[in-house]
Amino acid sequence: MAMTSAERILARASGRDTVAPGDYVTADIDKAMCNEGFAAVAMNLGAAGISKVFDPERVVVIMDHYVPPPTERAAMIQKIVRGAVSAFGLPNFYDGRYGVAHQVMMERGHALPGELIVGTDSHTCTYGALGAASCGIGFTEMAYALATGRLWFRVPETVRFHLEGDLPPLVMSKDVILKIAGDHGAEVAQYRAAEFSGTGAGAMTMASRMTISNMSMEIGAKFCFFETDARAEEFLHGLPVGGYDPLVFDESARVFAEYSLDLTSLEPQVALPHTVENVQPVSSLERTPIHQALLGSCTNGRLEDLQAAALLLKGRSVHPDVRMLVYPASWAVYRLAIDDGTLADLVDAGAIVMNPGCGPCFGSHGGLLAQDEACVASTNRNFIGRMGSDKAGVYLASPATVAASAAAGYIADPRDL
């Protein structure tokens, strides 16, 4: 029987021949990712009398939210995580100098095609860029998953997005996912899996696919999938990974809905405060002064993102009324961007280069907003109070739009720079 990607992976993980949307299954977990939430997970495990995880090799702990710790309490949380990692004997531990968890999972080969992966972060769905079924869960469910190696899932319906044609210059994959959120709403994939196919998806780099799979959370998706094509194979080649099952879409599988998007005519998009579906083309936005421009994060902090911004800012200056922050997605990206001069161009333009981490993206530290301030950010959420004051505004856009806006002092179309 023809199955969607979600159905195929959940059937395999639950030991069934087939499953259908709406079925409840108990599935074996291939990998479990924990960030600083592991402190709470470990507390739950302790309360339940659990002293061993199901398979230490399948657990990855990556500290990224409080790097370096902005408060004494955050330092204590990290200290608890280190103690718990040691107590449970977990070999895959990345202690604060590797990068944002999702980027580290991908670039260290912890996320593989066809795997079922859970993580204590909502953007765990990022690994769908190479064909994994990955999703976020809470601390309590993670404790259950680590103790038993299993978790219940409801088999989701699938929504297929056909991306056709090549993106015009200075229009990026971020604009694609913002356009989808704007056109179809923040619930278009609620409780569903999203499959991205078509020539436009096939032409995208892994970095661009990761931006879309990361943001699929913001349209409600439980899982996001791109096929494990030659580009994905090339990405996996050279990583310390063993065998895996490449994910190939079965176009004959029944899906809940299908949407097509012509990429050739797409313009730069921006999501206005305070929902990700509040989207319009940058070209139609009234003049919106900004006080902060945030480039980077696990959504858009890969080398091609930083390069796109540097290309626009080389020889220009960040507007004097704007503080521009750069958050590379990982130390590996950070290093590459040093080597090729990207960071030099950004620093020369007046940007502040921060260390990889989650700080301002979840409103914790390292670039927060005062009331009545506005930030254009290449991050993934613009909720009320997401980046500081609940009277500030976050505008989501592509790295190119962030860079153009940083130079202009207001939200600007990168094609006009």
Partner: protein
């Protein structure tokens, strides 16, 4: 499972996790988070919420972050049940996992005014506006989900296997 009858806090669409639990408080204990829960949309919530109150909301309630503090703080503040037209899926799962009853019910927000009294049967997935009388049918939870809620959370199932902390 018991039925819930409580005063309604009516909330809108896309009420996200950051509004329930601001990111700056992710390193804080639940008591401190409770001082600020929902403050940006309902500043009076902290002072006026009473044990047994219910939340009735529009679509996509609890969208956003995986932070479990969001359902935790609502439960800790005495919210007995959350009924929404739809939920962010991680919030929905985590609420069940910690034993906070949740129910998805189409068009429910339009059937209530703030301060009305709701009567909710989670097992039957029915919601009634006590003043208005009409019974609305929501999406039934699976037997496994109902068991987790009834037992007070998924950790209780684990403790049963291990005998709990030594």
């Amino acid at each position: 499972m018991e039925q819930f009858q409580g005063r309604v806090w009516l909330l809108g669409d896309n009420l996200d996790t950051d509004v329930i639990c601001p990111g700056r408080l992710l390193d804080a204990p639940i008591e401190e988070i409770a001082e600020h829960a929902l403050e940006s949309v309902r500043p009076e919530f902290r002072a006026e919420v009473r044990p047994g109150d219910v939340i009735v909301a529009g679509g996509n309630f609890g969208c956003g972050s995986s932070r479990e503090q969001a359902p935790q703080v609502l439960k800790a503040m005495g919210i007995s049940c959350v009924v929404a037209e739809s939920f962010g899926r991680i919030f929905f799962r985590s609420a069940i996992a910690i034993g906070l009853p949740v129910l998805a019910c189409k068009d429910v927000a339009g059937a209530f005014a703030d301060g009305d009294t709701a009567s909710i049967d989670v097992e039957k997935a029915s919601v009634t506006n006590v003043a208005g009388g009409a019974v609305m049918s929501g999406e039934r939870l699976s037997p496994e989900m109902l068991e987790i809620i009834t037992r007070g959370g998924i950790l209780e199932l684990l403790k049963e296997k291990t005998g709990g902390a030594q």
